[in-house]
């Protein structure tokens, strides 16, 4: 029952984040790159002002799996690094997302190499 409730919250929060994104696309004709940037910066800003953890406590993967979670990691890494010094304040963000970024580049390269692009619309 506990698990069911957690997953239900994850589903609701994740769904809500994507619905807000879809509303932005519908209302402003934003391209997907702009929507991604907007939500990434929103996640980073929420973490910077300390509000992200409250949403994360409630919605868990519902807010960390969308790109808002990527922004949160970038900001959290920088904040963590700032405690140690200016150097770590500048490098902490990228260090925190190193795994995800490496994965996107490495998997992206290999998969793009072996798969053939289908014509648009197919």
């Amino acid at each position: 029952m506990q698990y069911f409730l957690t997953y239900l919250k994850v589903f609701a929060v994740g769904g809500l984040v994507c619905t807000i994104g879809q509303l932005l696309i519908n209302k402003t004709k934003m391209t997907s790159a702009r929507v991604l940037v907007t939500f990434l910066l929103a996640g980073a800003a929420l973490e910077a002002v300390g509000l992200f953890r409250y949403i994360e406590d409630f919605g868990k993967a519902g807010i960390t799996i969308p790109i808002t979670g990527f922004g949160k990691s970038l900001a959290a890494g920088a904040i963590e690094g700032a405690k140690q010094g200016l150097y770590q304040a500048c490098t902490g963000g990228l260090a925190a997302v190193a795994a995800g970024l490496s994965a996107a580049i490495a998997f992206g390269f290999v998969i793009a190499l072996v798969s053939k692009s289908k014509p648009k619309g197919a």
Partner: protein, 147 residues
């Protein structure tokens, strides 16, 4: 009903139903992808108990990025995206999709100047804005910490 009335009726009804549908699909598929992510996270935490929450989170991202890349390579993700809209764009799997899609498309123009160069034509702005924001936040926190 004449032509004018009909076109007014179409205008009134079409966008709303279509928009309702896009929102519903975005909610359902976006929610589902996040739920899968939570499942991956819980499974990883059970499999690797020595990893702390931060590492489990990063590893969950890696697994989801792998799934997103794979489904893009197989041509499945774009089919999901046709219905899901933001529901497939916003999750981290959509970020993977935005990396793999242009890389695949420009593969025919060569590996260096096609695949590698165009890989970040959509995801580039995300990384640039994200890294700049993180440096800014880091520096601000560093300066605040001085006082």
């Amino acid at each position: 009903m004449d032509k004018k009335e009909y076109s007014e009726l179409v205008e009134q009804t079409t966008p709303r139903t279509k928009e309702g549908k896009t929102l519903l699909f975005a909610f359902a598929i976006g929610g589902l992808i996040c739920t899968i992510g939570q499942g991956v996270s819980d499974a990883l935490a059970a499999l690797i108990p020595s990893f702390d929450a931060k590492k489990i989170g990063a590893l969950t991202g890696v697994v989801m990025i792998f799934l997103g890349s794979l489904l893009t390579g197989l041509g499945v993700y774009d089919k999901i995206g046709y219905y899901a809209g933001a529901g497939s764009v916003l999750p981290i799997t959509g970020f993977a999709n935005s990396v793999v899609s242009p890389a695949m498309e420009y593969n025919k123009e060569g590996i260096v100047f096609g695949l590698m160069a165009k890989m970040f034509s959509i995801a580039g702005p995300v990384i640039v804005s994200g890294v700049c924001a993180s440096v800014l936040i880091g520096v601000i926190y560093y300066i605040i910490g001085l006082f």
